[in-house]
Symmetry: C2
Subunit: 468 residues, 2 copies
């Protein structure tokens, strides 16, 4: 395979869990890169043998608020690339430091320092992705034109923002064929508004099953347990659309910042929403707070236009794998105190797939899903010891790094700032089956079957109707 | 083993699922009974080979509202015993017919005809166990002193009513040592009232795990899937205590009958409550409507006394096995329309146990659990091809039949009408570890950890605090 990009700097992988282990072989496959130029820094030695097998050096160091400045300074020269794949290493801190040191940066989701989801000295509103995002974006003021730092570019957040654009393009082709392809943020927002997209769900359904089964006191997942539990315990958050009639009784608005989203005064793992995927059919997913719920809603906002402002409701609907669902049930039983045993399943997976799509609703055709389904067997064929979840994320990481190397002075950017078609084209071979599907499904389908339910029948697409 | 009871009538087992298959060997072990005197009637041939291996004849007939009168008349003589272990064969219909034909009767739970939980022409209040119980008990007027008919005598309902009495006796020994042992219903109610028991939970935690794992579209359980799904879809119901401050927003009272219980206008599978067991620790269980929630609350009511009437809140808190929990999640995703594939696991179970107890709360020692935990290996040692869930229920069935043969003219009775000590003594060898435990646990333990929660802190034992 011809190497697509030449990179003469060093790459520092912070964290080497399931995504890191899937990223490394893709980096070596797609970049003309001497493995001696890659370094892994990991808190607990996870995957160290795997890294060394690729000729990559591993240092066991836990980056924390006390040491990250000096640890990064000792390892980085201008033009190097930091890839933050650790749960519990602050995006804000590393981005600021990389800007100071002239290094490129990417992470797969806005991360706080470890334990932040449990930091009850902060009120829930300050434990949100919203608060993290506002902090990170505020660095733009201090580092104009600095080295490119891509915030939240794994599968979700990351890939899904590009799937949204592809879905908008598909809908425009069907419903507004004369509309020109948007070329900037106001253009995309105007298109979503003209299409009358009311709701965008990030619909993720993981059906991977592993053996042995989850035991009592064990949290099992297909990716970082620390990351997952952090997501689960942070407040539920959603981009808040202009079509919504009823502000949820347990919701709170933010008094500052872009105000594109709201949060619920409950952990994401306590809130379920109705969603749909072509493989799974109708399902109930958890409404974890996720960066893309805010960034997509913010990006697609039309603040002033005839007929009033426009913004879609945007939220995540995640049905994790069966053992992770059981782990969440147990986590709730433990009043959100994490189980002592953690297990990320890779080689133990027996069957299943990762279905990740975006579901755009409320337009003239009802609901349109665009996304990808990757089976575990396909994933293993492309990256041994990986799984479907990790591979989709890893492809998105490498695609964005490739772009950043070409555009090294773009400062702090979000997935929506990257070219969706280029990213999707790169990722496609790693995503499994990719495509779009219209569906007659709505959150009111099949309701009231045994009991009357409290719904808003004046508008199918109200958030109230999605909530379980 | 010496046979304990001689029985010269015929036994008709209606239904032969997991409980029936565990009951038969116990019957043959404990009764001097020619297998030719036992007959199985089953709708679908489940377990037929198993029955024939014991020398028992099997007829494939589905009892339904059109045929049960003649089918029973053709098979029964006075003094015969009908054991209704089928999901979907009406308790009311069979009890009435047995009274007419002079046959003894037992079932393991108030059952409606198949499909009743889905019978949306009936309002939710008429789909409750309460309505079924009122109908069945109304037969007492027509058949005074008729043949003994025991309603709801498996594990829960059934055994648990006797566990409650044992727990009350234990509490009295600790807290009211001079109180005489109650000998009748007013005595038990007075004792519960004097002990200030506010809440009685039927705490069931099934940790049995089987292979292969549940597939999409499959409902997996350790006992009848039809029975389980019927329970899951009926309204949540609970005996409603006199100490409760707040009537739940979604609750309804019944306009007729004993009024010992209320129901929620939601399926039991949509309502979770906090509970505790010595093996499981704190857990979240489903509040299925169950006969014992009503009969125990009714039995322990003191209608008039100085200081006001007394009744405890009584409800079920069921954490089924992992695959059943996943099946319930999927059932909700299907808007309560049952999965097409059903699987009851017996020999496929690899590990786990059934912990069934009663948790009496609000007295001077806080909370007291009394119950049993039976591991799958122990269950298999006592009854091959059985599982822990079925064996606990089967022992309770046989114990009650033994009593009924000695007391054949008691008419329609509930578990509370049987001698608790005799039943427990018979069942004990089949229950695994049996015993009592005080616990400092309460439903407010560990709350408010990450978020403030809406609780009633003026009284720990309010239903509001149990609800998830």
């Amino acid at each position: 395979m011809p190497k697509e990009a030449v990179f003469n700097g060093n790459i520092l992988l912070v964290g080497f869990g399931s995504i890191g282990q899937a990223v490394l072989p893709l980096l070596l496959r797609h970049f003309a890169l001497d493995p001696a130029r890659v370094q892994v820094v990991t808190a607990d030695g996870t995957g160290a043998n795997n890294a060394r097998r690729h000729g990559v050096a591993v240092t066991n160091t836990c980056l924390d608020p006390g040491n990250y400045r000096s640890e990064l300074a000792a390892r980085l020269r201008p033009g190097d690339f930091v890839v933050n794949l650790a749960a519990g290493v602050s995006s804000y801190a590393l981005i600021e430091r990389c800007q100071q040191l002239g290094a490129l940066y990417l992470d797969t989701g806005l991360a706080p320092w470890a334990g932040a989801a449990e930091e009850t000295s902060l009120p829930p509103g300050e434990r949100t992705r919203y608060a993290l995002r506002e902090q990170v974006l505020s660095l733009r003021r201090d580092f104009k034109g600095g080295p490119t730092a891509i915030v939240g570019h794994g599968a979700a957040p990351g890939l899904v923002s590009h799937l949204v654009k592809q879905a908008l393009v598909d809908l425009a082709a069907a419903l507004l064929p004369r509309e020109p392809r948007p070329c900037d943020r106001p253009g995309w927002a105007r298109l979503a508004s003209r299409l009358k997209v009311k709701v965008i769900q990030i619909a993720e359904r993981d059906t991977q099953q592993a053996l042995p089964r989850k035991k009592t006191g064990e949290f099992v997942n297909t990716w970082s347990v620390d990351g997952f539990v952090g997501d689960a315990c942070q407040p539920a958050e959603l981009g808040w659309g202009t079509h919504e009639h009823e502000f949820p009784h347990d919701a709170r608005a933010h008094p500052y910042g872009c105000k594109a989203s709201i949060y619920l005064d409950r952990p994401g793992a306590a809130i379920q929403v109705r969603s749909w995927g072509p493989g799974s059919g109708p399902y109930h997913g958890y409404l974890f707070g996720h960066g893309e719920s805010i960034s997509i809603a913010d990006y697609l906002t039309v603040p002033h236009q005839e007929g009033g402002a426009y913004r879609p409701t945007v939220h995540y609907a995640y049905h994790p794998c069966d053992d992770a669902l059981l782990s969440l049930h147990e986590l709730a039983e433990r009043n959100w105190e994490c189980q002592p045993q953690h297990r990320v399943v890779q080689d133990e997976i027996e069957s299943g797939s990762e279905e990740l799509g975006v579901l755009l609703m409320g337009h003239a055709r009802g609901a349109y899903w665009y996304g990808a389904r990757l089976a575990i067997e396909e994933a293993r064929g492309m990256a041994p010891h990986s799984n479907a979840t990790a591979l989709q994320a890893a492809a998105s990481v490498v695609a964005a790094m490739r772009w950043a190397l070409r555009e090294p002075h773009r400062g702090i950017v979000e997935p929506e700032d990257l070219p969706y078609d280029e990213i999707l084209a790169f990722c496609r071979p790693y995503l499994g089956q990719v495509g779009g599907r219209y569906t007659p499904w709505s959150p009111l389908q099949g309701r009231h079957r045994l009991y009357s339910e409290d719904v808003d029948s004046s508008d199918v697409w109200q958030f109230k109707n999605f909530r379980v």
